[in-house]
């Protein structure tokens, strides 16, 4: 999908129009679509991630996953005493049950489950609102379902951050380079003034590797093609009960949380 310069300028001119879009407009047709549970990607490939929350037990389990991502993608680390919390950049991070699934009105979930942390990342939605609002078409959806962002084209307008219901996007308020702990010379950094997020490690996929987080998770995070009935992710989803984040918004997330059940009992 190549956009020539002229087209881009035209789009850039529409930025102002984008400003006028309200959230209602953004979600309107996705909500309609979701009510029927029908609109599902029919492409050959739709990458997805299944997170088996049962397999994440110790703090180290969680941290290993985040560290793997941070290191490989040159993600700056927030220095607590210096950093403004707003400056935090996160591709994959952990949060509480309440923050992760605010729409779950079931008070009777097992208490231990509700105490757990959940790894959160970009949901690579099948109907991504961030793509719709991007005035420069820097964010786009690939045929394989990955919601990708062209950093060269990002103008830092942050419409996508406003549109994303999952808070999966971070803005570089400062030059990130001084805050990168272990530099990966094979991966670029970002510059000040652009938005960034999880890419499902598209660069690793092209080399036939698994996403870094999945690789580091000891099987807790499983990556695969959702549209392939034989894929591992489909098998897990077929046999386990899972949750999506805020499914009622109709964004159709590609990240699933296997929650299990009996092990929380007692």
């Amino acid at each position: 999908m190549r956009i020539d310069r002229r087209k881009f300028l035209k789009l850039a001119g529409c930025t102002g129009v984008g400003l006028g879009l309200s959230a209602a407009d953004i979600f309107k047709d996705t909500v309609e679509a979701s009510s029927g549970h029908s609109a599902v990607s029919t492409a050959a490939t739709r990458y997805a991630m299944v997170i088996d929350i049962r397999k994440l037990q110790t703090a180290e389990d969680y941290q290993r996953i985040v560290d793997a991502c941070d290191k490989i993608h040159n993600i700056p680390t927030l220095i607590p005493e210096k950093g403004n919390p707003k400056h935090e950049v996160k591709w994959i991070w952990n949060d509480t049950y309440g923050h992760s699934f605010p729409d779950q009105k079931n008070f009777y979930h097992p208490e231990a489950f509700k105490q757990k942390l959940f790894p959160l990342l970009c949901n690579h939605c099948d109907s991504p609102p961030c793509v719709r609002v991007c005035p420069t078409k820097a964010t786009f959806k690939r045929p394989d379902g990955i919601v990708q962002q062209d950093m060269h084209r990002c103008i830092g307008c942050r419409f996508c951050m406003a549109a994303c219901p999952y808070g999966s996007r971070s803005f570089n308020f400062v030059d990130p380079r001084p805050f990168i702990k272990d530099k990966n010379p094979e991966y670029p950094t970002r510059s000040m003034g652009v938005v960034e997020k999880c890419t499902f490690c598209s660069e690793r996929l092209e080399k036939g590797e698994q996403p870094a987080c999945a690789e580091a998770s000891n099987g807790a995070l499983v990556f695969g093609n959702l549209n392939d009935p034989e894929s591992e992710v489909r098998k897990i989803l077929k046999t386990n009960f899972s949750l999506q984040r805020k499914p009622e918004l109709g964004t159709m997330p590609s990240v699933f949380y296997v929650i299990g059940g009996e092990e929380y009992a007692g």
């Binding site: 999908m1 190549r2 956009i3 786009f140 690939r142 394989d144 990708q148 062209d150 950093m151 060269h152 380079r177 530099k183 010379p185 094979e186 991966y187 670029p188 950094t189 970002r190 510059s191 598209s202 660069e203 092209e206």
Partner: protein, 126 residues
């Protein structure tokens, strides 16, 4: 001359501004950066003649960038070998940022923003 002081002061400032290139380079001998050794019509990765690469590398890089980011076509085959269309892992694998890119860019005062994001292994405290 009337108001001579002010007028001459003004003229001196003006002349100083206009002749800035002359006195600032007084006595210097400027060597242009040495040409890369390859002949202009030899082919570069991507089947582009070196001469054309020199004039239009920014456009070729721009094209490759779109192919990688948008199309997921990360690799290019040249002379039977695969090369990654990447500044960090491709270009800089053969060329030195300082010596190869930097010399001409600095000489011509052209400041691309590639380096804002793309590391070169020879600097940036790596």
């Amino acid at each position: 001359m009337y108001n001579g002081g002010k007028i001459i002061a003004g003229l001196i400032i003006f002349i100083a501004l206009v002749t800035f290139p002359f006195y600032t380079n007084m006595g210097k001998t400027i060597e242009k950066p040495a040409d890369p050794t390859a002949a202009a019509d030899e082919l570069h990765i991507g089947n582009v003649p070196i001469g054309q690469m020199r004039a239009e590398h920014m456009m070729i890089l721009d094209k490759w960038r779109d192919e990688v980011v948008r199309g997921g076509e990360r690799f290019i085959t040249f002379d039977g070998d695969q090369y990654e269309k990447s500044i960090q892992n491709g270009c800089l694998a053969c060329h030195s940022k300082q010596d190869f890119c930097g010399k001409c860019h600095n000489f011509a005062g052209v400041n691309p923003y590639c380096w804002n994001c793309h590391y070169s292994s020879e600097e940036d405290q790596l």
